[in-house]
Every structure is written in structure tokens, then in C-alpha cells.
């Protein structure tokens, strides 16, 4: 029962939604719409579950003095601070906007900006033409890197057209192949979940 009930619900809802996509009958469409609205209500709970889980994990980390537990204190203080600022002042509140513009934006942007330095270091150490395929990849990468910035136009007026060709033809062809592969895999996985063959979402042992 513990496993049969969820599998039955998944099978029923999955087949119903699949049929509803193709059947233009009013009753089917209304029922499908109702299920989707219920789904949106359930999704909203996940935000609270996420916050609750984050707090629980960090409180346990502080209690048991695990590695870097001191950072968890800062995390909880700032989490509480942003929540209070948002609840009291609203989304346009002075304190909330100040914390967002002067803490969250610069800190998040800084984390992503660090990638530029590591990419440069990786480019020097790892971007080597060790075989014909790597050489082709390297040439394409260099052409796109130079052609996609204004200095490429300054060097040679034909650079942007060449880069657009690389993006529109070989890149598009390769990406299309990858997208088809991924989508076929997704269809296969969806069928496995609906038919109960794939049960990892239930957790626990099979």
C-alpha cells in the first residue's frame, strides 16, 4: 500500500495528462486545468520547505560544531534579517532594498566574476591542441572569442560574419543533435516514471 498508492497516482495522473494534451474535449481540458492549478499550490509550499530545510541543516551544523560552523551563524543572521526586512517593509522597503542592492547584488556578482580569472588560468594550462578534434575546437573557440567582441571587427571586418556562420551552422547542427538526444531521453524517463519502472523519486530502498 505504501508503494502501490503513489505508483497508482503517478500512473493515473500521468496517463490522464498525456491524453488530455491531445484530446480537445471540454471535460478533459477543465480537469487537466484543475490538476495544474493544484500543482501550482503544491509548488508554493516548496519555498517554505526549502527555507525550513536550510535553517535545520545550519542549526544542526552549529549544534554539533561541524566544519565551518561559524559561517552558518552568519547565514542564519542574514537570512533572518532579509526575511524581517521583507515582511516589515515589503518588497519596496528601504532596508530590504538596501540589503539587496548593497549586499546581495555585489556579493552574487563577485562570485560569478571569479570565474573569469579561473577560465584564464584554465585556458593557459588546459586548452591544448593534443589531437585533431581538440585543434578544431581550439580554432573555433579562438575565432568566436575574438569575433564576438568589438576588437574583432577592428582587426577584420569579416569576423562577425564568420562567427555568425559558426554559430548558425556547425553550432546549431550539433546543438540540435544534442537536443534531440536529450528529449528522447526525457520521453523515455517520463514513460518509465509513469509506468512505475523508475521509482527513485519515492526514496528509500526498492
Amino acid at each position: 500500500m505504501k508503494r502501490t498508492l503513489p505508483l497508482t497516482i503517478v500512473l493515473g495522473c500521468g496517463i490522464f495528462m498525456l491524453i488530455a494534451f491531445f484530446v480537445p474535449v471540454r471535460w478533459f481540458q477543465d480537469a487537466s486545468q484543475t490538476l495544474q492549478t493544484w500543482y501550482l499550490g503544491v509548488i508554493a509550499f516548496f519555498v517554505f520547505i526549502g527555507i525550513f530545510n536550510l535553517v535545520r541543516i545550519n542549526v544542526l551544523k552549529i549544534q554539533h560544531k561541524r566544519r565551518d560552523w561559524q559561517f552558518s551563524i552568519f547565514l542564519l543572521i542574514f537570512l533572518a534579517g532579509m526575511l524581517l526586512a521583507g515582511f516589515i517593509g515589503g518588497p519596496d522597503g528601504t532596508v530590504f532594498l538596501y540589503l539587496f542592492q548593497h549586499f546581495q547584488i555585489p556579493l552574487s556578482a563577485t562570485m560569478f566574476s571569479l570565474l573569469a580569472f579561473f577560465v584564464a588560468s584554465a585556458a593557459f594550462r588546459a586548452f591544448r591542441a593534443r589531437n585533431p578534434e581538440a585543434t578544431l575546437l581550439l580554432i573555433a573557440a579562438v575565432l568566436v572569442m575574438i569575433g564576438r567582441v568589438p576588437i574583432g571587427v577592428w582587426i577584420w571586418k569579416g569576423f562577425p560574419s564568420l562567427v555568425e556562420w559558426i554559430m548558425s551552422v556547425p553550432n546549431t547542427a550539433a546543438k540540435r543533435g544534442i537536443i534531440f538526444g536529450i528529449d528522447l531521453g526525457l520521453i523515455s524517463m517520463a514513460l518509465r516514471v509513469i509506468l512505475g519502472i523508475e521509482r527513485s523519486y519515492m526514496g528509500g530502498k526498492d
Binding site: F112, S121, P150
Partner: protein
């Protein structure tokens, strides 16, 4: 120690320093390199120019502060263009932090054109649910949007009353840093309801969208900071993206020089082994 041995073992902090200088120096002493316009960006611009005054543009802010450097300048340039053409902007977001970024953009652009909240633009807030939310939104907006981002009833605003379903949306412009984002709009909104979709993405995500550009499912694309700079050039707004192009140009040249140096060392090491 041979010169190439020294270069091969170079401390990476020197590489970091060179990249830092490559970015900072052009910001202090701009080169003024001209920004060329590419077809995917021009398509977005031409669509906004061609739409009749009063058209409703849905702007979806699907990024967080981490991608703010690339996508916020594009957001500003796009909103500037929409308001200049007197289009109405219906903002929402698939990412929660995007809503605050969108509001900050409104505060910067809307007063310049004397636009009024609720009449010329509105922010309906963060909408979770991804694909299911978009399918529901296109069918009946009221099932997804009951209030604006402040919690006020959506029907209390004239613009809120105008948008009932996908047929009331003339264009969707999504500023997307990942998932959910531009692909969701293309797959679940354009494919189902036929509403034209245009997008702005980070540079790393831009190549992934080209199949959809090619098939016509995506009307146009602003890729990375370059795309934002192109749009700024088209709308006549010299701002952060244009200013950043000189730095990006020099930084790319420096990285390419590192790649060339690394491969010269590879060739030298092969010859030494022989």
C-alpha cells in the same frame, strides 16, 4: 631553467593579475571600439519598432544578481525602448530575485518617460511552477496572477485587467540566466499558444538558443554583454554594456594570447622529448 619552463610553471596569480589589469585599464582609459550589430539583436529591435503603440510586452525577469552584470544592462535598454515606443510592459519572473531587479529597473527608466504604474507598466511578481505555470498562464492569466508584487488585486489596475490570456500578449521578452527560463517560454508558451518569444541570455547560454533562432521559434536573441551593448547602440543609450565592451575585448585578447602561449609550450615540450 629554460624560458618556456618558467612560463609553463608560471604562478597563476600572475595570470589573475594580468586579467584584472586587462579588465580595469580599459574602464579607466576607454578605447571607444565600435559595436557592430548582429542579426539576432536587430530582430528584437525591429519587432519593438514595428509593433503599434500600446502593444503589451510581457517582460520575464528570469535571472538573479549573479547574472546581473550581463542581463541588467539589457533589461534597462529594452525597457527604455519599450517606453519610448509607448508600449505597455507586463513584468513577471520565473526567478524570485529577478522581481526586485525588475523593480529597480522600472524605478530607473519609467520616470524618464513619465510612465505610470498600473497603466503603462505593472509587476505581477514571482510565479513558481515552471512549465505548468506557463501552460496555465497562457490559457487563463487569472489562474496564476491574482495580485501584483505588492499584494494588491490585479484587477484594480487597468493594465492588469487588459491581460486575460496569451492572445492579449503581443510579445514575450525573457531575460534568462538558466532554468526555468527562455527554453520554458519557447517550449511551453510559444509552441502551445503561438506568442512570439524573444530573449536575452548570458553569453554562455547563447549558443544553445541558436537552433530555436534558426527554426523561428525564437524571434531574436541578445547574447551576453555584447548583445546588451548592441541593443544600447540601437536605442542610442551609451551605458554599462557599451562601457564594458572595451574591457571584454582586451580580456578576450589576453586569454587568446594565453592559449597561444600554452600551445607553443606544448610544441616545445614535444620537440624536447624527441
Amino acid at each position: 631553467m629554460h624560458f618556456f619552463d618558467r612560463i609553463a610553471k608560471i604562478d597563476r596569480r600572475i595570470i589573475f593579475l594580468l586579467i584584472g589589469l586587462a579588465v580595469i585599464i580599459p574602464l579607466i582609459a576607454p578605447l571607444g571600439l565600435p559595436v557592430d550589430i548582429t542579426a539576432p539583436v536587430k530582430s528584437v529591435y525591429d519587432r519593438i519598432e514595428a509593433m503599434p503603440e500600446g502593444s503589451i510586452v510581457v517582460v520575464s525577469i528570469d535571472y538573479d544578481p549573479g547574472s546581473e552584470a550581463e542581463l541588467y544592462p539589457a533589461t534597462l535598454a529594452f525597457l527604455d525602448h519599450c517606453f519610448r515606443k509607448n508600449h505597455k510592459v507586463y513584468m513577471m519572473g520565473l526567478w524570485a530575485p529577478g522581481i526586485t531587479l525588475g523593480n529597480i529597473a522600472f524605478q530607473e527608466i519609467a520616470p524618464k518617460y513619465n510612465k505610470e504604474y498600473g497603466i503603462d507598466y505593472i509587476n505581477v511578481g514571482y510565479k513558481p511552477g515552471g512549465a505548468v505555470m506557463l501552460l496555465t498562464l497562457g490559457r487563463n492569466v487569472a489562474d496564476v496572477v491574482a495580485t501584483d508584487y505588492q499584494g494588491l488585486p490585479i484587477d484594480s489596475f487597468p493594465l492588469g485587467r487588459m491581460v486575460k490570456n496569451s492572445r492579449d500578449m503581443d510579445l514575450v521578452m525573457t531575460f534568462s540566466a538558466g532554468d526555468p527560463g527562455i527554453l520554458h517560454w519557447i517550449i511551453y508558451f510559444n509552441a502551445r499558444f503561438g506568442t512570439p518569444i524573444a530573449g536575452a541570455t548570458t553569453a554562455i547560454s547563447a549558443p544553445r538558443q541558436y537552433p530555436y533562432l534558426s527554426s523561428g521559434q525564437l524571434l531574436g536573441l541578445l547574447g551576453g554583454l555584447k548583445g546588451a551593448a548592441e541593443y544600447e547602440t540601437l536605442v542610442g543609450r551609451v551605458d554599462r554594456a557599451t562601457a564594458g565592451m572595451d574591457s571584454q575585448s582586451i580580456a578576450h585578447v589576453v586569454i587568446v594570447l594565453f592559449i597561444i602561449m600554452g600551445n607553443i609550450i606544448l610544441v616545445w615540450e614535444h620537440r624536447r622529448k624527441k
